[in-house]
């Protein structure tokens, strides 16, 4: 498990310990990765983050068209593994969680401990001023630095 911000580590580790999730990605709603677990390659992280953020955006648009409130969570059930996508609020803005899990756990367990993690993240997030907006020319540098941090290099 790797996280860009130290305060994310404990809640995320607790979630991983309890849920037996195979892959986990926490990212901002714009797809910027905050923490990951289980991914072997940086390309997979970037792809999953982009796709996850896209799915969430599409689903929110669908909810808007249907006239309802936003969906809080989306679960895709597969024959060998399943995927949970959940949007949640943090003091640092809206984040998205992507969790891939297998039959060794259940969606009930994953959701139960995911929600507990969200509560802990809310409690542990530093209450300082939000980070300054990133400039486009620094983005690629920061992405590279983030990926190195997430993969422990």
């Amino acid at each position: 498990m790797r996280a860009l911000e130290p305060w994310v580590e404990l809640p995320l580790q607790a979630f991983l310990d309890e849920s037996a999730a195979r892959l986990t990605l926490l990212m901002t709603s714009s797809g910027q990765v905050v923490a990951q677990h289980g991914f072997a390659r940086s390309l997979d992280v970037m792809t999953a983050a982009a796709l996850g953020a896209g799915i969430v955006a599409s689903t929110e648009e669908l909810a808007r068209l249907m006239g309802g409130s936003r969906f809080e969570a989306l679960v895709h059930h597969g024959s060998r593994q399943s995927c949970l996508l959940s949007v949640f609020a943090t003091p640092r803005g809206r984040w998205i969680g992507l969790v891939v899990f297998g039959p060794e756990t259940s969606v009930g367990i994953v959701q139960l401990f995911f929600d507990r993690m969200v509560t802990e993240l809310e409690a542990m997030a530093p209450r300082d001023a939000a980070a300054a907006p990133r400039l486009a020319e620094n983005f690629e540098h920061e992405l590279d630095a983030s990926l190195k941090a997430l993969f422990g290099r």
Partner: protein
């Protein structure tokens, strides 16, 4: 009143039962619930489902059929589970002075009728 509600109603009438629910065993999600006394139904469904799943593997490893009834006894009460057809499990959370024998009978009867 749906069959599920009737079943839960009978179980929660047993003295000392703090709440009962019907869960999807594989998913650990609540199907129907009748809870009192601050019992977290979502947690009960997920955790009982996980425990029953583990016990199913244990009895399978012992060459036995699936459990008919499970009673987890703890310091401050008990958790009862009775698997039902359709991958459902009837779950009850009991206080320390509950009539476990009666709860068990009601749950076994109810689980059988849910098929």
């Amino acid at each position: 009143m749906t069959p599920e509600t009737m079943v839960l109603d009978r179980v929660t009438r047993v003295p000392g039962v703090r709440g009962a629910l019907l869960a999807s065993a594989g998913d650990g999600l609540v199907v129907a619930e009748q809870l009192m006394d601050g019992v977290d139904g979502r947690a009960a469904a997920a955790l009982a489902g996980a425990l029953v799943g583990r016990l199913l593997r244990t009895t399978g490893a012992a060459g036995l059929e699936s459990p008919l009834f499970v009673h987890l006894r703890a310091e401050e009460g008990s958790l009862l589970a009775a698997p039902a057809p359709g991958d459902l499990v009837l779950v009850a959370v009991l206080g320390p002075d509950a009539n476990i024998g009666l709860a068990r009978l009601e749950m076994l009867d109810a689980a059988g009728r849910l098929g």
